[in-house]
Chain length 202, copies 2
């Protein structure tokens, strides 16, 4: 009986491909075993359990995605960096829906939670935003806004949440423009007070 030559890396890589094909939630040990022409029990010498497989897949996808984004952002600043980041983010999410879904699961192992990919993502995001001259806590607020919008948009688009009446790519570009505007006119305390006074008599 010829061996399939399984290793953790090959198993996780195959799981990633499978995730992009059939969806992250449909990545099953059995399906993976079928893909290798092997019994499911055989995979348990390489992975601890399904949870373990998914965590490894999430880490792989996280690394891949931030590499992709970092390459796009390199050498850009300000609005260009934002557009590059956004474009690379959406491209990856749409091209690799299963891997992208994997990046969104909660990693309960605290060791995995601050992986290299996590730290790099934070670095690049905060670095990109420094051009807008924000300071804490506004910087964190802005990061959360960007992450939310990017993730929400890609999740909705991938789930078919947008009807086809308007080009989805065009809306994305507009959203990125709007975020750029929001970052440039970031609401600071004095602005908000002023606006509140302005509208209070109404």
């Amino acid at each position: 009986m010829a061996r399939a030559g399984l290793t953790v890396e090959r198993v996780v890589a195959a799981a990633a491909d499978l995730a992009d094909e059939v969806g992250f939630e449909n990545v099953t040990v059995s399906a993976l075993a079928r893909h290798f022409g092997v019994k499911d029990a055989s995979l348990y010498s390489h992975i601890k359990n399904v949870q373990d497989l998914r965590t490894r897949l999430a880490l792989l996808a996280g690394e891949e995605m931030i590499d992709h984004i970092a390459a796009a952002v390199a050498g850009c600043a300000g609005r260009d960096a934002l557009a590059a980041f956004a474009g690379a983010y959406r491209t990856y999410a749409l091209k690799h829906p299963g891997r992208y879904a994997a990046t969104q699961i909660r990693l309960d192992q605290p060791l995995a939670a601050d992986s290299r990919a996590m730290r790099r993502t934070a670095e690049i995001t905060y670095g990109m935003l420094r051009a807008y001259g924000l300071e804490e806590p506004d910087l964190t607020d802005a990061v959360r806004l960007l992450r939310s919008t990017f993730h929400g948009y890609c999740a909705l688009e991938a789930a078919g949440g947008f009807n086809a009446s308007r080009d989805v790519r065009a809306s994305w570009d507009k959203a990125v423009d709007a975020l750029h505007t929001a970052l440039e006119h970031w609401p600071r305390e004095e602005r908000r007070e002023a606006q509140r006074k302005e509208k209070s008599p109404s």
Copy 2:
């Protein structure tokens, strides 16, 4: 043998509560049957299959959520309406994580896809945005931006995606402020051209 008195409505309602307890993806026919003290096969006279159960749950949650939002937005306009919408959205999503997750699944039945809840949500959202004087296609773009940010933020927050270093509620308020700013300074074609000229010599 005393009957449990099952009906479709009771089953779906119990599924909704179960979803909020254990998460939408963990709503299973078996668990639901256990909750009623009944064999799983018995539920299949009330629901077609798991997919059917989830679709019904999604429709229920969608109705509930838009009712909650509509009540909050009633009588507000402009920035207040946006804040009320956002607040009600996030409140519901955090209070009913399972139901909220249900609202995000893809409804493949075209009949269910434009349900009453869907149409009401669209009405209320577009109505809220009319105060900003946008026209198509910018209106659709703005709706997509709001949906994305709201959904993304709640999804990330519910998944524990934000660390506790900064108050999550405060970030949310800032994000809503930023969206308001973005809507007021919505990037129109002439603005973008002007900005492009402005920065092109750099």
